[in-house]
């Protein structure tokens, strides 16, 4: 092979490798996107099966139940229009409270119970996670309620 051909071959191999790497990366990226859904969307069966996603809303007051092993909990996330039951094993974050905003990540079981692998309440005591606030807001709008919403994201700092 002439040096020029060698160089061309080298460049071609490099481009193919780069393309393959980019393809693999994009594929990995696609499969790692975690979408966010509201309890209303869960009720409308818009959520993917067998794939992790996040749901957000308020922890329904009085819904927190501790299971027999003491470490598992069951609670209900609501966007005031629809509810989703959540099962979680582990320690809840410090800021987890009934009536406050929460975001959970996990998969929806066939029985309609959301099995959370992670519960997030990363915000200060009065602050609402934007995702949770968004879910509640949307549900309220969908219910076409004319009065002011419970949670106004602009003032809940």
């Amino acid at each position: 092979m002439k040096p020029r051909h060698k160089r061309l071959a080298l460049i071609a191999v490099g481009l193919v490798a780069l393309g393959a790497a980019a393809g693999l990366l994009l594929n990995a990226f696609q499969s790692n996107l975690v979408f966010f859904f509201s309890p209303s969307q869960v009720a409308a069966r818009e959520v993917p099966q067998g794939r992790s996603f996040r749901i957000g809303g308020l922890v329904q007051a009085g819904s927190l139940q501790r299971q027999g092993d003491g470490v598992s909990v069951r609670f209900v996330i609501t966007d005031t229009a629809h509810d989703v039951a959540v099962l979680y094993t582990g320690i809840l974050p410090d800021l987890f409270k009934e009536g406050k905003g929460v975001v959970a990540q996990g998969q929806l079981g066939a029985d309609g119970v959301f099995r959370a692998s992670e519960v997030l309440a990363k915000h200060d005591a009065n602050y609402m996670p934007p995702q949770a606030a968004d879910a509640v807001e949307k549900a309220k709008r969908a219910a076409a309620m004319s009065q002011k919403t419970l949670i106004d994201p602009k003032t809940s700092k």
């Binding site: 990366l25 990995a28 790692n32 966010f36 992790s52 470490v71 320690i91 410090d94 200060d124």
Partner: protein, 666 residues
Amino acid sequence: MIPELGHFALIVALCIACVQALVPLLGAQRGDSNWMALARPAAQGQFVFVAMAFTCLAWSFVSNDFSVLNVASNSNSMLPLRYRFAATWGSHEGSLLLWVLMLNLWMTAVSVFSRRLPGEMVARILAVMAMISIGFLLFLLFTSNPFERLLPPAADGRDLNPLLQDPGMVIHPPMLYMGYVGFSVAFAFAIAALIGGRLDATWARWSRPWTTMAWAFLTVGIALGSGWAYYVLGWGGWWFWDPVENASFMPWLVGTALIHSLAVTEKRGGFKLWTVLLAISTFSLSLLGTFLVRSGVLTSVHAFATDPRRGIFILAFLALVIGASLLLFAWRAPKVGLGGLFALVSREVALLVNNVLLVAAAALVLLGTLFPLFHEVLGYGKLSVGLPWFEITFPVVMVPAVLLMGIGPLLRWKEGKLGASALRLKWAGGLAIVGAVVVPVMMGGWSILVAMGILLAVWVAAAGFANLAGRIAQLRTSTGASASAALRHLPRGYWGMLVAHLGVAVFIVGVTLVRGYEVEKDVRMNPGDTVTAGGYQFRLEGLKPVQGPNYDATRAVVSVTRNQRSVTTLYPEKRFFTVQQMPMTEAAIDSGLTRDLYVSLGEPLADGAWIVRVYYKPFVDWIWGGAFLMALGGIIAVTDRRYRAARRYERSLVADATIPVAQGTG
């Protein structure tokens, strides 16, 4: 009165910054030495006023002046003194003032330690830094005045966020900002060189110690933040790929590429444009990080401040800085010549591949951090990028870079011999393979990931020693010196490289072993119960209420034994901060060279039992130890004699060439 004084000082600083940004720059263009000479006093004067403003704010916090809105919202009379002081940068406004203070510190440092630089270079560097300063001072004064008054004054403050009431808060932000903002010096050097058209090896030699120093600060800052998250969040994790963490990690990655690329520019005159581009990118990523954290566009632990107006200001500033510097780059780049030629097997190529990999890693992190933002802004709904994205792709890119770290420093500049270098590394390679087989078995279970991690770590460390042994042998044959004399003869820059690379090896050991062998248990415990983790028995002896300065707490007493021998007693707490009505988990950790024992309290159950989280974390402290070694390596390299010697040499050249300047400045 004090707050108004601080406000006034900021305005004066802004005026000085405007003069400093304009006059020396024009002076450098016109060759007017008097105008150029204004740069140094202006920089130092600006520093005095910014420091004064900062002192005024700190004073308001320390003396509990609740007529200042910032103090009333972020402090409390019951808050201990050190946190009242640290609360100065606990708020959005305060942390930006800290940003400007750090910028001024670096600026003053440049004005003091640049006696040997040509006057026009100094004038341009300080002018560029003043422009950055103007941007942030305007931002402070118009959107985030830290001295805003509250009328009528509050009786007491709303207290500092409990998460921030930690010794980490006193030291982590200043360190991190020192690093972040320090890259503005590298940026200013690059822009000054582009304006002046002087982009050569000497420029790289001037720029290198500053860049390395900023990088070392950033390394320490990130490590401190990671360690803080490890014990304060009570989850025992040390890195979450949280957008705020990524915001500081991206400049670190590109900054690491920059310090390696500067090496090529200094030693071989090559990669000049690439180096300039990296300097611009590093600082732009620092600004992007500031935007991400300070605009409140992210949902995360750190996003305490939310105000879209501020976000738009920083975004516009970011666009201006990046746009203007890239325009300048495009205009000036064609005039820059190429460096020396090099073969396919050479240190240049090794460093080039290292650069490409580091930048690719930064791009992966950038994609994972910004994609959710774009997705939402474009109206496609909210989503997040899962942890596996970072945890799989990042190592895939970094593993080749680490493998290359072993062989790169052994290759010669210009044209290396792969065979000869590989031969010198046969022991290192053998040791790495033996380590990969033996260490995981010794730790209690072989797995491919642990084997890979140990392989990389031993490879990097052993290759470093092989490199050192080779250099000593070479010196002894060429000069006939003894081994100890040869050791002393080696330059600091070389030692710095070895120490920093050893730091990478130590870091990898920590990450690998804690990943592979940590034990994590969330259990329900009554007083008297025992749980076993990693061969240690944790016994909950009892619980008692404790009163803190601004919180009430429940403190557990957990005794730890191993083989019937007492190891330690841990006191984890669950605190309840009375002003903010917020609970906080205070983990108790027994640190050791080979393991951490970590206990934190979950929540109380009905019958006096608690949910307790017990961790056994082998070698976790090596993660931060490795990071500190990297930073230490950087600091050792900065003290290299050649930077000082080179400056002396430069001065003699400059003095000959520009006598009028010397006369002008007196």
